[in-house]
């Protein structure tokens, strides 16, 4: 189910949101039903706390309802929603966004992920929940990027726009986040 098209096409989303903007609550409800799973997955993974995730989920859709007229269809509606969700999460943890990235060299990151080591992290993938646990231990900025790009399947361009980065910078950060994720998976497997 890698990068399957999400429920609800872009055009459908745009129609629903424009109807919502003119006060059609049932159109907005249909929009919510299409996307609530993705927003929940995102806020739940980003916050680690059920209550905070629920608050962010509600804030996201309330805010989307209020600003449904402002969706212009430049990118995907899911990207737009997750951008709102991200702000809702960060409002709860002020100062978390924009932390400077730690700049280990790629070789250091690679080695932590098992580059050149004699191991096979494939074993770790056979064990239930290890992917989720490895993801949960990452710094929040790596986690959100991997959630947006890998779990929700947004494009590099959508992710870059959402995070306020250029595509080049986004790709560099994504690569580093992926290496840190593999390192966590490896640590998980080795019980560190």
């Amino acid at each position: 189910m890698e990068h399957l098209p999400r429920e609800g096409s872009l055009i459908e989303d745009q129609i629903l949101l424009s109807q919502a903007a003119s006060g059609d609550a049932s159109a907005f409800e249909a929009f919510v039903l299409c996307h609530r799973e993705a927003v929940w997955r995102f806020t739940r993974s980003l916050t680690r706390d059920v209550g905070a995730a629920e608050d962010a989920l509600q804030e996201t859709f309330l805010s989307a309802w209020r600003s449904s007229a402002s969706f212009r269809g430049g990118g995907s509606a899911l990207g737009w929603l997750l951008s709102i969700a991200r702000h809702a999460v960060y409002r709860q943890h002020k100062g978390r966004a924009g932390e400077p990235e730690r700049m280990e060299s790629l070789a250091e990151l690679g080695e932590a992920a098992g580059w050149g080591a004699d191991f096979d992290p494939l074993d770790a993938l056979m064990v239930k929940d290890e992917v989720g646990r490895a993801l949960a231990r990452l710094p929040v900025e790596d986690r959100e990027l991997l959630l947006l790009r890998e779990v929700e399947g947004l494009s590099n361009e959508d992710c870059a726009g959402l995070l306020g980065l250029g595509v080049r910078a986004l790709k560099s950060r994504l690569h580093r986040a992926r290496l840190r994720f593999v390192a966590q998976l490896r640590g998980e497997h080795h019980g560190h």
């Binding site: 189910m1 890698e2 990068h3 919502a20 903007a21 003119s22 006060g23 609550a25 907005f28 409800e29 249909a30 919510v32 039903l33 299409c34 609530r36 799973e37 929940w40 997955r41 739940r44 059920v50 995730a53 629920e54 989920l57 509600q58 859709f61 309330l62 309802w65 209020r66 600003s67 449904s68 007229a69 790629l106 070789a107 690679g110 080695e111 992920a113 098992g114 580059w115 050149g116 080591a117 096979d120 992290p121 494939l122 993938l125 929940d129 992917v131 989720g132 993801l135 890998e150 779990v151 399947g153 590099n156 790709k171 994504l174 690569h175 992926r178 290496l179 994720f181 593999v182 998976l185």
Partner: protein, 298 residues
């Protein structure tokens, strides 16, 4: 340990730097062939590249969120949005944000939140006292927006929901569709008449009996829609002083004494009758016990 070999004109470090582009297909065909040639000729990079790819693929497949957590979160979201919808709409700018909204919605919010948790507790009590299986044909009488219906549906063979409110049934239809759970909807008249379908192996009902004027007649009706040996699992309030409902419209009973429920079930032809506490719901500092009556059609 860093590896720095040169294979196919590329150093290991260069391959490490480009693994994401390689995985995403974000490079020229020529470059791709060159990286592939390095991987083919360098065991260490091939092993690491394979592990890296497998790890990212596993991440893309994701892991399902706990369904009970999600269903509670979605129920609360619906309630919050319903409240918001009543407060105003975006076109007129009548929407209140933040604490203003919360203050105004707090009363209904608390009530609705409690309703979600109560439905969850009732569904758990039913599944712990009645052996559910994929062979069962089940009816939820007075299903409302399906808080109990949708929690039980995945554990049984087929689920039908009957209710007098078309609005609630519409909401249930939307939730059922989005969750991919088939539920047959049975609209009833305001008097509660209408075809209940069946025959069923189990009829459940949560917080509905007190809205029904003639409960003994309803129990006799249940018998007609049950297979021989079919069961009922019915939850409602113990007898209370009338403080539970602020609005008494449509409320025919202020809860029930348990022995009365027992006798009515017996008179209707049910056997193996048990009436036990399912949960306790609190409201404005007062506890209201909720019973679950289970019985089997003779």
């Amino acid at each position: 340990m860093a590896i720095e070999r040169e294979v196919a004109g590329l150093r290991c470090g260069e391959v490490l730097a480009e693994l994401s582009d390689f995985l995403d297909g974000d490079m020229s065909l020529e470059r791709r062939a060159q990286v592939q040639a390095h991987l083919d000729g360098c065991d260490a990079c091939e092993r690491f590249g394979g592990a890296f790819t497998a790890a990212i693929r596993a991440l893309r497949q994701g892991e399902p969120m706990p369904p009970s957590e999600a269903s509670i979160a979605f129920a609360r979201l619906s309630v919050r949005l319903e409240n918001a919808g009543r407060v105003g709409d975006p076109a007129t700018g009548g929407f209140m944000s933040g604490t203003e909204h919360f203050d105004q919605a707090a009363a209904t919010w608390d009530l609705a939140d409690r309703r979600v948790l109560l439905a969850h507790a009732v569904a758990e009590a039913i599944s712990s006292r009645v052996p559910l299986s994929k062979e069962l044909n089940v009816l939820d009488f007075g299903c409302g927006t399906g808080l109990v219906t949708l929690e039980l549906a995945p554990q049984v063979g087929s689920m039908s929901g009957a209710d007098t409110s078309p609005g609630m049934l519409t909401t249930l239809a939307g939730k059922a569709e989005s969750q991919g759970i088939p539920v047959r909807l049975l609209p009833l008249t305001t008097e509660g008449t209408g075809d209940l379908g069946g025959p069923y192996d189990l009829i459940v009902s949560s917080m509905t009996l007190h809205h029904v004027a003639d409960v003994p007649a309803l129990f006799s009706r249940f018998v007609q829609h049950l297979n021989p040996g079919g069961q009922v699992a019915l939850a409602d309030l113990d007898e209370e002083e009338g403080t539970f409902h602020e609005d008494a419209a449509g409320v025919h009973h202020q809860g029930f004494p348990r022995n009365r429920i027992h006798d009515w079930l017996e008179d209707a032809g049910f056997r193996a009758i048990q009436v036990e506490t399912a949960t306790v719901t609190a409201k404005e500092g007062k506890d209201y016990p909720v019973f679950l009556a289970t019985a089997r059609r003779a």
